[in-house]
Subunit: 442 residues, 2 copies
């Protein structure tokens, strides 16, 4: 990693940045193959919209002009996710968008929280959402996780990034179950169950009883629900066996069964119904998703989201949607830090054109130009130094080929062949830096 | 343009964003063909580094955590260019970089200045620099503008963005000339000559005489120098004819002649020696560049930069370099605003797969999957509505093809042919949205 002195603001060295760009290109390509349009929004949002959601306002970076008047209230902050700006964008531009609107957005976001592994103050997210005007069909709850599993599966196939497992639940299921137990404030239960991974079942049971006045039996039922994890629709039976009856629960069970069945068919082995998935934020209203990398589960969810009935609303319409967000920094920073993800070179250059002496530099430039016209990245040696030194220049950067006059040398094998810049082509594997996971993913 | 309510923070509608992404892809590709490595730096820099350069500190956006202690000094601001963060990056990572270091950087920057045409509070820049450790050869002053002319030329060829003309000067030439006239503070002269375009020669002459105490004859000589514009090296004679003698002037003339001759040969018609080019910032020490789009000169320079002897310096080394920066927002926002640059569709989708009824949606999904596997962007109709309505869904987005069962229809021509998703391929021009300048560029 680059030696930035500002904790929580990761920066990449050039070779690492090649890895990042390749991953982002792959993600964008998958999203576009599925018909999602890219948007970008400005970095700043009004404080009023940033401060709205629960406790998040604690972490906002406030922005003001250095010459703002003394005591002038801070109007703007850096966005802390891509959902708040997307909601504003949809409302402001609804008249110019076609609904259902399929968008992806890959941008940095900022949070002033204490940095720790997998959490940063500046980080990159890749979001996809489908938003309807007034209504949005249920089948998009199946489509969107499949888009993300396709995107993450390509990262696995192409770069060796660990495979993922997506865990899915449904808010109606949990809420209906809690209501069936006689709970008035199901969100309060959900927030405590959400801590299960961190504090364990005993503490959660105690919180449910002490904070919310639940009976020990009801608390146990909540924990029993959260323990249910199945790769098929057999979770339905297991929930029924807990003996709770509620209409919303029925609806949630049915919705989740449809989603799990379809995803299990189209992406076998990548999905599990996990009734402990809660998602902290309060705007989800149906299906919710979390995703871990296999063997790297300790990094937490790297792709989360869910269904919301109303992302935003103007006088005329509400805008329901379903969205998922990949934590790109959360995936890449640890894999790069540990040297697991690797680029074969630290420059895009495929060919270094050597220079005999400064008087013939233009000949070398002409060769490089010919190569570039044919899509081969080339640079001309910066100095007409000894050939050994020019080869070393290439070697230190991982540049595979050095061009001398009428021939080109593969400096890895030492093989040198006669070549014409109008026709010579490198092996396709050498055209771009090769990006691969190396070594054991622990 | 998207209806953002925050002046100076342009946002794009999806079709405009397709144009922007295509332009950025083209720029990155050219930079990489020339062997430049991408880097990105964090958005925040310490206030101390942002406040250093002349008057720029007036325009900085200050950033602080919302819960920072009352009266705690503001430590960080948003970067206002990509040069300050690049200098820091080079110093912090010098031990991990190979020099000369060739980097490009495409990122947003922020300035709190009053918005006006061509100036924004949030804007996108594309910078390329070559930086040496201790020294950097003179030929890079020729290489770097050729990289930018190649990049801008491709935008012209591929998208119809207006051709450009680069104007080039040399600080040593100006400074030597002024010193030859007996001026002690050549920077003060330069800053006034820099206003020539805005206030005209009479006012500049008056400033030189009144502010700096120059003689009328010396002021006239400065203006005569600034009037010299030649597409070849004949500027040398014209400067000599002004009768000023100075060693630094000789060096500047020789350096500029070398640069102009080489660029005129390799990029004919794209370069002019223009001795009025001053560049306001004080860190340039040799060649300086500005670039206008033909027929859109009123937008000002869209690609500027120059040579600096010391971008940064640590105890052991200085880091001289040469860099140029394209004002991407300055080019794109007016061309998009006026509807000149245009995408043939507002989504990446090439094929909409129609849905007969919800029971056969999975068949449509399978067809879309087959197409995507072969690199064809496809989405499945969101509702099993009447075929006319599904065609309208595609038409409103500019999607050229709709797939029905065993056939595919080009909805522009109405032609429908039998097709197999394992073999059918659209015309290559339809694979991606077509991005072109349309209408007269005024």
């Amino acid at each position: 990693m680059a030696k930035t002195k500002l904790s929580g603001f990761p920066e990449f060295l050039p070779g690492e940045r090649i890895v990042e760009r390749r991953v982002l290109r792959s993600l964008s390509r998958t999203f576009e193959l599925h018909g999602f349009a890219s948007i970008e929004t400005r970095a700043l949002e009004p404080m009023a919209s940033l401060a709205r959601k629960g406790e998040i306002d604690k972490e906002v970076y406030v922005v003001r002009r250095i010459h703002a008047a003394e005591g002038e209230p801070a109007e703007f902050g850096l966005h802390f996710d891509l959902t708040v700006p997307f909601a504003r964008y949809v409302l402001e531009n609804a008249g110019f968008l076609e609904f259902p609107f399929r968008r992806y957005q890959i941008q940095k976001a900022w949070r002033g929280e204490r940095p720790q592994e997998g959490r940063f103050r500046e980080f990159l997210q890749a979001d996809v959402d489908i938003v309807g005007q007034g209504e949005l069909a249920a089948h998009h709850d199946i489509e969107l996780p499949l888009v993300m599993l396709d995107a993450l599966g390509r990262l696995h196939d192409d770069f060796g990034i660990p495979q993922v497992k997506m865990r899915v639940n449904n808010r109606k299921l949990s809420e209906g179950f809690y209501r069936g137990l006689g709970v008035d404030d199901p969100m309060a239960v959900l927030q405590r169950v959400d801590k299960l991974d961190k504090v364990g079942p005993e503490v959660v049971a105690k919180l449910l009883v002490d904070d919310l006045g639940m009976s020990a039996a009801a608390a146990d039922a909540c924990l029993a629900l959260a323990k249910i994890k199945t790769e098929d629709t057999s979770f339905v039976e297991q929930v029924r066996a807990l003996g709770v009856e509620n209409e919303l629960l029925d609806q949630g069970l049915s919705e989740l069964a449809t989603v799990v069945e379809a995803i299990a068919e189209q992406a076998p082995g990548r999905i599990v119904a996990d009734l402990s998935v809660a998602r902290g934020l309060d705007y989800y209203t149906g299906t919710v998703y979390e995703t871990e990398m296999e063997t790297l589960e300790h990094l937490g969810s790297i792709c989360s989201g869910g269904r919301y009935d109303s992302l935003a609303s103007d006088g005329k319409h509400t805008y329901p949607g379903v969205g998922l967000s990949i934590g790109v920094s959360r995936i890449l920073v640890p894999l790069l830090n540990k040297g697991i993800l690797h680029s074969s070179r630290v420059v895009p250059t495929c060919v270094l054109v050597a220079v005999d002496n400064e008087q013939t530099r233009r000949d070398s430039i002409r060769i490089a130009t010919r190569l570039r016209e044919r899509g081969i990245s080339a640079e001309v040696a910066p100095a007409a130094s000894k050939y050994g030194k020019q080869i070393k220049y290439a070697d230190r950067r991982g540049i595979p080929f050095v061009w001398f006059g009428n021939s080109v040398k593969d400096i890895r094998s030492g093989e040198q062949v006669e070549a014409d810049p109008l026709t010579w082509t490198p092996p396709s594997a050498d055209l771009e830096p090769a990006v691969k996971a190396v070594g054991v993913v622990e």
